[in-house]
Amino acid sequence: MDPTVRDELLQLFAAGVESPLPDAAFDALALRAFRSQFESNAIYRGFCESRGAAPGGVRGWEEVPPVPTRAFKELRLVSGNPDRVERVFRTSGTTRGSARRGEHHVLDLALYDASSLPNLRTHLLPDEERIRILALVPDPKRLPDSSLSYMVGRAVQAYGAEGSGFFADPVEGVEVGAFRAALDRAEDDGAPVLVIGTAFAFVHWLERASVERVRHRLPGGSRIMETGGFKGRSRALSRDSLYGELESALGIPSSRIVNEYGMTELLSQFYEPVLIDGAEDRRHRSPPWVRTRVLDPVSLEPVAHGSEGILCHFDLANLGSICHVLTEDRGVEHRDGFRVIGRSPGAEPRGCSLAMEGLLAGDGGREGGG
């Protein structure tokens, strides 16, 4: 890993997500990051060479060969000394138990902290220094290979007020009793909270809550960060229904529910700016150190603005692994960001081959525990 690039990135991230990074400056940093990865990662170098790409040859970051998320399942993609890896994050399994999990070998957790915290702060705490954080994800001590648990753990350390805590077990899921007690306490204290959870964890909890007729009225100013989809999971629920149910169970209006889109393979995240701009026109924004494109899946060229394609991210925070990552997620460009469409629910299979099942179940993405 190139230490001078790393130090510049740390400074850049510290300036926050509201400090713009002009295209030319991004491009210059991206090409230096590419050079560093090309030189320090033999597998990636071979891959780039097979595609006729090398530092000096590519004219801009867009020409840097992207690596598909699936490759994180099959190979250890470290750009630097593998002995220096500080943490390995893994994607959660899917319904197909045999499927391999994606692994992100992180050389430098400082880059993760520096990228994720200011982004989270801007989108979830634009109005508060600290807030009580109730997390429906397992404590990072109990699930050290979950990138989500790690990030939420760091957020609790940095911004969590008294009473913050984790209310999910890596195996059993949401700890319903303890969570209910924490919600009751927050109501009694009149202290606004930030509830963080995966869509899957929320659905799990809502099923229990409706059986027990639980209805909370959390103090004004409370908010929710919802993340992850239902990929390969049992019960799917439309987003509108989920937010509606959360609104009635917690008393937090759906206009204060922020979706975070993230994946184990990327150290930066994407948030909806609903607490800043309102929830009328939901879309995700990339932090200045990430460039996101919507690509035609056949040609891998950008689609026309507003057309559907697959999302491809260049994340400078991934300096220690691979910056340019091609996902399987569908999306469209929208205003200053993009909308994630994901896989169409109830998509009909086009045949009776077993390969169909993989296509429908989907894999990749993140979300440990929950």
């Binding site: 598909p68 998320t69 190979l75 697959i310 045949g351 993989g358």
Partner: protein, 469 residues
């Protein structure tokens, strides 16, 4: 133009609502009927009545001719039914025109009077057991009876699957209610029209209706339907089949065809220059046909080392043949998710190649086909879109272990081997659950009487009634 997704003899029952389903990537727009509780009962009653009046008393030997005359029209290049099928299939099924023709020809070959008669004879030594009690050896007699109505639930869009299914049903004198997959609506509808033109009375024993399965609008209709029928033939994922099973009434029979995994195997004695060339050509065809969506479509090939042509080189030949087929049997445009999945698979394989794992990736332009030569047998689900993996093996004896990760989904194994070796390994493959062992050339088109997923095509639809004393 938005099309109707049904043909119900006597028309839609009173109270049926018609709902429109907008166009979706890969599928044209259509209207579908929400029959409701009363409507479903009405259609089932009409079919049962028609079966008693029109099917039960006909001599079974007359049915192959009658039904086959309609089926044969799909092969007659001058026939308007075939023309219409070929005009609409590319859109309806997501196949190129060339592939539509190839698939229709292959499917309809089994719908002729000769093939249907042969199927009947193959399954019943004395087909007249479907007409009356017959004695085989003088010691009591037996009659083959099917339920009044059989429900056929198709999935996906291998076109023609539900026509084959409904023909079997009518041959054993069970009226057919067909709910095709969204990509297979056209052919059963056209078949019904042909049957009406051939014999309007017999056509009363067949109804076709598509609706989006599991749709909220359809919950009530589906519930009544599944609870009322006594026999269902269903194609689909394990999840779909489980859901159907749970909704059937106690004692109803489900003939289930789950999604399957098929592979090809080439033994070293079949790897001289000429044979390798031929097997690569046949393998490419079997990959391309149905765009790999069929249960018989191969997902991977295992090639034995030590023959004249080495596995790596066989993979290159396969690639060359797939490239050739992009001209004679062009692929259709890929759906976005399919293309995304191919990019993932190709890119990951290219990285494994760069990592020195001995992987070689061969790619057609515009994602048209992909061959991945991979010394490691990952056993991973492939993806669609003419994507074939080739794994070298040291000896055929490794096969049972390598393929065991795919049981119980393993269906067809195309085994290119000779003599005693072929017999011996066929037996071993059967022991690990393979249900059909064939050649690469025969892979895409099993004979009409094949034991699909181990079951007798007609025998599975009937019950034997014994008359003793």
């Amino acid at each position: 133009m938005t099309r109707e997704s049904w043909r119900i003899p006597g028309g839609l029952p009173e109270g049926t609502r018609v709902v429109s389903l907008p166009e979706r990537e890969g599928f044209p727009a259509l209207h579908y009927p929400v029959l409701g509780r009363r409507g479903v009962r009405e259609v089932l009653a009409r079919l049962a009545r028609a079966r008693n009046e029109e099917l039960l008393h006909r001599p079974v030997e007359s049915l192959p001719g009658l039904l086959g005359r309609v089926g044969r029209r799909f092969l007659d290049t001058a026939d308007p039914l075939r023309r219409e099928a070929l005009e609409l299939l590319p859109d309806a099924a997501g196949l190129s025109s060339e592939m539509s023709r190839e698939v229709l020809d292959g499917m309809a070959r089994d719908w002729t009077p000769e093939r249907l008669a042969a199927l009947l004879r193959r399954e019943f030594a004395d087909p007249q057991v479907l007409d009356r009690f017959r004695s085989a050896d003088g010691s009591g007699s037996a009659l083959a009876r099917s339920p009044p109505v059989t429900l056929h639930v198709g999935s996906g869009n291998v076109p023609g699957v539900t026509v084959t299914s409904l023909l079997r049903s009518l041959l054993v004198k069970s009226a057919a209610l067909v709910k095709p997959g969204r990509g297979d609506i056209l052919l059963p509808l056209l078949f019904h029209r042909g049957l009406e033109e051939e014999d309007e009375h017999l056509a009363r024993t067949l109804a076709v209706a598509y609706w989006p399965g599991g749709d909220e609008e359809m919950v009530e209709t589906e519930g009544v339907l599944f609870a009322s029928v006594t026999q269902v033939v269903a194609y689909g994922s394990d999840v779909t089949l489980r859901e159907i099973r749970e909704r059937l009434s106690e004692g109803a029979r489900l003939i289930a065809y789950p999604h399957r995994w098929s592979v090809g195997v080439v033994a070293r004695e079949m790897l001289d220059e000429a044979s390798a060339e031929a097997s690569a050509r046949a393998a490419a065809r079997s990959v391309a046909l149905f765009e790999q969506r069929g249960c018989v479509s191969p997902q991977a090939f295992y090639v034995e080392r030590g023959g004249g042509v080495e596995p790596r080189s066989w993979a290159r030949r396969l690639a060359a043949e797939l490239e050739r087929l992009t001209r004679s049997l062009p692929p259709p445009p890929l759906l976005l998710d399919e293309a995304a999945r191919i990019q993932q698979t190709r890119g990951a394989a290219a990285l494994r190649a760069a990592a020195g794992r001995g992987v070689e990736v061969h790619e057609g332009g515009a994602l048209s086909w992909t061959v991945i030569f991979d010394p490691e047998n990952s056993g991973e689900a492939s993806c669609l879109g003419r994507m074939a993996r080739v794994h070298p093996i040291g000896d055929l004896r490794e096969l049972p272990r390598l393929l065991s990760c795919h049981t119980p989904s393993l269906q067809t194994v195309a085994l290119e081997a000779k003599g005693v070796r072929r017999e011996q390994f066929a037996k071993e493959l059967a022991d690990i659950g393979a249900l059909r062992i064939t050649t690469l050339a025969g892979m895409p088109w099993p004979p009409a009487w094949w034991h699909h997923d181990g079951m007798a095509p007609l025998g599975s639809l009937i019950r034997w009634v014994d008359l003793e004393g």
